[in-house]
Symmetry: C2
Amino acid sequence: MSVTGPAGFIASGIACGIKPSGDPDLALVASTHGPVPVAAVFTTNRAAAAPVQLSRRHLESTQGLARGVILNSGCANAATGAQGLLASQETCRVLADAIGGTEEEVLVCSTGLIGIPLEMERITSHIDALVSSAGSSRDDARRAATAILTTDTHAKEVLIEADGFVVGGMAKGAGMIAPNMATMLVVLTTDAKVSPAQLGAALRSGVRDTFNELIVDGCTSTNDTVVILASGAAGEVDPVKFESAVTLACTKLALLLAEDAEGTTRVASIHVTGAASIADAKRAGRQVALSLLVKTSLFGSDPYWGRIVSELGASGAEFDIDRVSVAYGGVVVCKNGIEVDHDVASVSDHMRLQHVRVTCDLGLGSAEATILTTDLGHGYIDENMRTS
Amino acid sequence: MSVTGPAGFIASGIACGIKPSGDPDLALVASTHGPVPVAAVFTTNRAAAAPVQLSRRHLESTQGLARGVILNSGCANAATGAQGLLASQETCRVLADAIGGTEEEVLVCSTGLIGIPLEMERITSHIDALVSSAGSSRDDARRAATAILTTDTHAKEVLIEADGFVVGGMAKGAGMIAPNMATMLVVLTTDAKVSPAQLGAALRSGVRDTFNELIVDGCTSTNDTVVILASGAAGEVDPVKFESAVTLACTKLALLLAEDAEGTTRVASIHVTGAASIADAKRAGRQVALSLLVKTSLFGSDPYWGRIVSELGASGAEFDIDRVSVAYGGVVVCKNGIEVDHDVASVSDHMRLQHVRVTCDLGLGSAEATILTTDLGHGYIDENMRTS
């Protein structure tokens, strides 16, 4: 059900002709009861695409109310100048005409190639079809989740059933998923009755330890956006349980993104323990997670712990090589900075799994953090070496 | 001639059995006239290898005087604990016995796999052979330059003939060459008569815009070291000319390292102009140079300028997309943030060259910087996916 799981939402996904393949490339998630509380987190990239610029403006002008989100894939509408902004504006205006309300009550997302003009008419001429085909079935949600994909190999949906309310979501990712998001679009919906401010707080908290701690290639995109809409249909909810449910939805989607990252064969969680501070734990974990050498070793199923130690030392986190330990799948291979006798066969088996666990204990304090990363292999090169 | 080009130096390179292949793996560069001024720049990695820790100590204790540098390849002697430090100490002690002077007058470098114990006896038992085979011929220098290689495909040497003095040098690199050096060993020699302080200033200046602006994979190694020794045989020199000659030697070696980086098929210079400050120009250039997506595009000869703009925007440098231009080989493809008509065939031809030039004009100020980077292709994955 994903985004149509919570009462009060309809979704739709169709092909409007942006993708040369003819695959679905236009999606809608909309409220069935007028404007509802909304919150969003956007890319920090200063080359933010037109849809990001416009959605930020809309959120501000409505102070957190929206009727829906329209998303296209196949073109990022980034680095497209004034014409690009106009295209996003026109998209919102035409959708508002179709579903009622003002254009400020519409958010817009785009994903795909950067620097290519968005053929606005393809979208605007299909908005009637998009709206008229929207519904609240599982299939409608799946059509929306499919229409936002780029190099993803499958739709990514989640539905969290919580204490008297639900949180649904869809995501697209594939490449460029750096800390602080990247080439990632996520739409979450919930039937919880929460204010825009509560919604924003829960979303920022949910994003922090999930999408922001997932690294594919360290690139930060022009377009990434996470939006959450709350219909209120389920009534008031416990704020702590609400935040947990949003975080869980983000966690599950982040894992789906990692597993389906461009050319990925393996996902690794880098768990840093014993750091002097949480900031240090994250810094150390990110340095390891971003390392091309570590990622290439993961691809080769090679437990080369020396590279892990080198990255920890290079991270800028407080570090004493004589206290550091490294374990793969719980088997300690390096202790106090040097190799220790260990079960080589067991490590070797672990390195071949689809999910590898690397634990780095800095031996300095009690702070910890977990960063999710992917391996780097030939598939990534093949996916990205040419855009056409 | 490289390191034996300047009068007052001998060099040598032999096989001592660290490399399982039996290839040369032990090198010496030594003064023929006792202790001479020396300066060095080391890795900033907090997991610095034993030879780095010891060489730092020696430099400090002699206040910048040395008789020679001994280098081994095949084992980094990093993450090797107290035993590793002992191995480096013993190496220096035995060499000092052989060439005269104190062990503090010897610097030591290692490169190769991290976390593997250094078999000290292989080195110490070969020091007599190393010293007795040292000479000042072109071939002796080449033997030293060869014995420090790891995954490099060929020896890297340079000789700069300046105004009344010369600067020679040898380098090994291959992978992990990040800004602020990495898995790079360089020994420079000169016959200029300069103090340790002058030598240090010239070296830091030379390294700053060369090795520190070369990016292969963004990893910073445990072992990188650049050493310069000055025999004084040529007498006093002009300090400005001296600094220029050292910088030129570093520039040439940095280019050789880039060209021979692991699995590289192409080198690109990322020239950032119009930045608000030099720090911004470097920040923007490094972000582009480090980007897996940009590097993968370079491998595919794909002029995907959108990725360049995205990285500039993500770099943290002051940025206004409406002012940014991107050119490949001097052909502007993006102006004021959007694509402009350009000679597609000419860009396409340029992208197939071994040296690609990318110019990013931020349109904000007059500061500029150039970063050297390499492409990322299948060769890098193959080289690094497994250590054995």
